[in-house]
Symmetry: C2
Subunit: 145 residues, 2 copies
Amino acid sequence: MGMRSDSRLARMLHVLVHMALLGGRETSERIAEMLNTNPVVVRRTLGALRDHGIVASEGGRGGGWKMAKGLDEITVLDVQRALDAGPILPAATSSDHPSCPVERASNAVLTAAHAAAEARLVEIYATTTLAEIARTAMATAKGEA
Amino acid sequence: MGMRSDSRLARMLHVLVHMALLGGRETSERIAEMLNTNPVVVRRTLGALRDHGIVASEGGRGGGWKMAKGLDEITVLDVQRALDAGPILPAATSSDHPSCPVERASNAVLTAAHAAAEARLVEIYATTTLAEIARTAMATAKGEA
DNA sequence: CTTTCTGTAACACCATTTGTTACGGAAAGA
DNA sequence: TCTTTCCGTAACAAATGGTGTTACAGAAAG
């Protein structure tokens, strides 16, 4: 039951596409089945997307979750930012002797390389909408039938 | 005393440049002071570099660590690979319903984006030698004097 | 008032780096 | 030979952050 890595972004892309294709309202219970997990995990994670206007939630009988935007209005980057405002790729520098020029030069190289990689990642995230993922999924499903 | 993130690469770049600039042999004790940590941590981490021919170690009185290559023969990628043979950036996909076309399409987007970012990172790592880091450090130190 | 929802708090679990203590073994020097 | 100085390793605790669960509180519909 441990953690292998952070799968929140992948799970949210997955579930958002499903919700849009299904069209109506879905409960945390049903979404948890899609993600093979627990309803509380769903509320926690979808809650972050609600706070960023991607989905809307309603409590009480007949409540649940629905899309607040169309799939073509949501990019992968939007979802990523809703889950975590910070940098996507961790810095990986050291701070053992902050005044040491050698440590500073090493950190500078790593920071620059990291920034370049993150820029590439953000570029792709920002230009990929969930609508494209939905199209790919439907094409794959049709090809398999 | 806990773990913030993986600083092994940054620390190894730092210490390798110092070792090369000092020229001779260094003990784990002295290197631990450079990294503000414990000698056992140094043996553990430098041990991985030794297994990849970057440094050499010798036990017993007068022993210690020395460079096995010149700074201009070692790239950041060499050090990274010595520390970890796997991919640098974790996959971040989900595997809740491996046969679901939507999950597969989501994972495919993330995997492709990740691969592009890692390619950029590797490109920079592979073309940056420790000699360049040493030059930057010395230029910075001179500028500060 | 009961049922069905979301919203949280409060935990235990896992994986991984890090820090630390405690040895064993090898090499050099007295 | 005995001592000192090294590396090599095992073993264990701490910190971290997503995850899985249980347990309630609150709100809305019937």
